[in-house]
């Protein structure tokens, strides 16, 4: 496969990775009101851990256990969850703006550790990641096959999260978002719920990282810049915080905008850097969403108790 179809498959797989990230952030921000600016950090943890687990032995980086792909996914999720727990226990009670700074600091620590610990991660040179189940399909159809895997992961995750947010647990976290005092008055352990949400959401980021690594087959610290975090935030805020379908649409739309701007380079005068224009548009989008449409494209459906 090549040309337009190949590009479409590439684009869709990339968008699915971001949709997974957006669902993770939606659980944290959309449903619980928990601010996490460290998305890129957990994303990186997942990508690297899965790469360590599944790659063949090598003296140049950590791991190389040659384990199967699902093990990579599970370890990536577990590791991100553990990192979230370590980070969360001391900081979960902070107010949202302080939490933002702490989490962004966490993501930068992860990124700098990856850059400096060259003997573990090959540092800025980046490390290769295997293509799972490569032998099952002919090479020309492999990218389509992997898109299928990614979509299956996304659908499973979507169903699981829809069930979670409509369960009593989901009602509890939404109460926390609306009014912590009310949740406290109902005897809910607010901090514990928030910690659970931080861990679950971050595990989803880890999962997205693993899916991303095996899709891109090559990861460097530059894939996990703070920019990625803000991109996911735009997707969630524009798509509609608190609506899982909305954030998936947001992910597709923002990713489409991001890739679509590449075609601008034919129109724009020579010498204008497309990367800078992209960044500017994402910045403007963030400003506009907050100022014009804070609830996003789809928004959240108002729900009330059956008794009312």
């Amino acid at each position: 496969m090549s040309g337009a179809v190949g590009f479409l498959v590439f684009f869709l797989t990339y968008a699915v990775v971001y949709a997974i990230l957006a669902i993770g952030l939606n659980i944290q921000w959309g449903f619980t009101g928990l601010v996490n600016f460290g998305v890129a950090g957990f994303f990186a943890v997942g990508a690297y851990l899965s790469a360590f687990m599944t790659s063949t032995p090598s003296p140049y980086h950590l791991g190389g256990f040659g384990l199967p792909f699902p093990v990579g996914l599970i370890v990536a999720m577990a590791a991100s969850g553990i990192f979230a727990l370590i980070l969360g226990i001391p900081v979960i009670r902070l107010r949202e703006d302080y939490l933002a700074i702490v989490t962004i600091g966490f993501a930068e620590i992860i990124r700098y550790v990856i850059i400096t610990e060259e003997n573990l991660t090959k540092g800025p040179y980046g490390m290769g990641v295997i293509k799972p189940y490569k032998e099952l399909v002919p090479p020309s159809f492999y990218s389509l096959f992997y898109l299928g895997i990614a979509v299956i992961v996304l659908v499973l995750l979507y169903v699981a999260m829809q069930r979670a947010v409509h369960s009593p647990w989901g009602r509890a976290i939404r109460t926390i978002r609306e009014d912590e005092q009310v949740a406290l008055a109902f005897g809910k352990n607010v901090d514990f719920f928030k910690l659970q949400v931080l861990v679950v959401g971050s595990m989803i980021f880890g999962l997205a990282g693993a899916v991303f690594g095996h899709f891109f087959n090559f990861i460097t610290p530059n894939h996990f810049l703070p920019m990625e975090t803000f991109l996911v935030w735009v997707m969630v805020m524009a798509g509609g915080s608190g609506n899982n379908l909305g954030v998936i649409i947001g992910a597709l739309a923002v990713r489409g905008l991001w890739e679509g701007m590449m075609f601008l380079s034919d129109i724009l005068p020579q010498g204008i850097q497309i990367g800078a224009v992209r960044l500017a548009v994402i910045g403007l989008l963030l400003i506009l969403v907050v100022m014009v449409k804070p609830e996003g494209i789809l928004g959240e459906k108002k729900t009330a108790s059956d008794i009312l």
Binding site: A100, I282, G283, V290
Partner: protein, 259 residues
């Protein structure tokens, strides 16, 4: 010893920047990520006046300050003023601030390009002081100018009426309104102080290293650390916090070289 001197130098740059950021954080009541872009704008405006128009260096810095302040106040009028009227919380403002940071940073790349640039100054040898400390004349200028700036800032905040109003607003915004302080005017002056602070910090950072569009973002986290360590809204705390962060950051190299 060399590390301590380097730390003081970095601390001076962080302190100067943190003073503006702490006042903005407190008076506008949110953490302004776009401050990083203000810093870089200050450095690049100075570069334009100095390298391309051939003005003296000190004059270039002094001209870029009012321009930067105008830009900051204009942005405030377009975005944050509306949000204040609407009663948007600190988080919404912070997201807008991040959007501004991304937008302004890329506008720097579009206006000046992403290449590494430097001020057209002759390269001078580092002076060797006792204890084998090496320090360049530029670094001496940075440290001494920071001290003078901090002193001027202290006089401004302590003696002038608007400085007092600013400290009052930073202390308790509701009480300040009750006492008849025009908070919108205070906010305007906050942007002016923030611009002075950002322009000098950006200029010093560029003088000591090089100009790249990303340099503000790299300094932003140390700046926030200094602001929070010193207590949000306390300029003197920001000075102390900046020094502590700068020196600790520099001394951590000792640990790094021994492992």
């Amino acid at each position: 010893m060399q590390l301590i001197v380097n730390g003081i130098l970095m601390g001076a740059i962080i302190s100067i920047g943190a003073v503006g950021l702490t006042l903005v954080s407190r008076i506008l009541h949110f953490f302004y990520f776009g401050y990083a872009a203000m810093l870089v704008y200050g450095a690049y405006l100075t570069l334009t006046f100095f390298n391309f128009l051939g003005l003296p260096l000190v004059l270039s810095v002094l001209i870029s300050i009012p321009l930067l302040a105008l830009l900051a106040i204009l942005i405030d009028k377009i975005t944050f003023k509306n949000l204040r009227v609407r009663g948007t919380g600190p988080f919404g403002m912070m997201v807008v601030g991040i959007g501004l940071e991304l937008f302004l940073r890329s506008s720097i790349r579009l206006l000046w390009g992403s290449d590494v640039m430097r001020y057209d100054l002759p390269i001078r040898r580092a002076l060797v002081l006792p204890f084998d400390i090496r320090i360049t004349p530029n670094q001496i200028i940075i440290i001494s100018a920071s001290v003078v700036l901090m002193f001027l800032l202290h006089i401004f905040l302590d003696q002038t009426k608007i400085g007092k109003a600013m400290r009052a607003t930073a202390d308790n915004i509701v009480l300040a309104k009750v006492r008849g302080i025009d908070t919108e005017r205070v906010i305007m002056w906050t942007w002016v102080i923030a611009s002075i602070s950002a322009a000098f910090a950006g200029f010093f950072l560029a003088l000591d290293t090089r100009l790249v569009p990303i340099m503000g973002w790299k300094l932003l986290l140390p700046l926030f650390a200094a602001v929070i360590l010193g207590g949000v809204g306390n300029p003197y705390g920001a000075l102390a916090g900046g020094m502590i962060i700068g020196i600790t950051g520099s001394l951590s190299w000792i640990y790094y070289t021994y492992i």
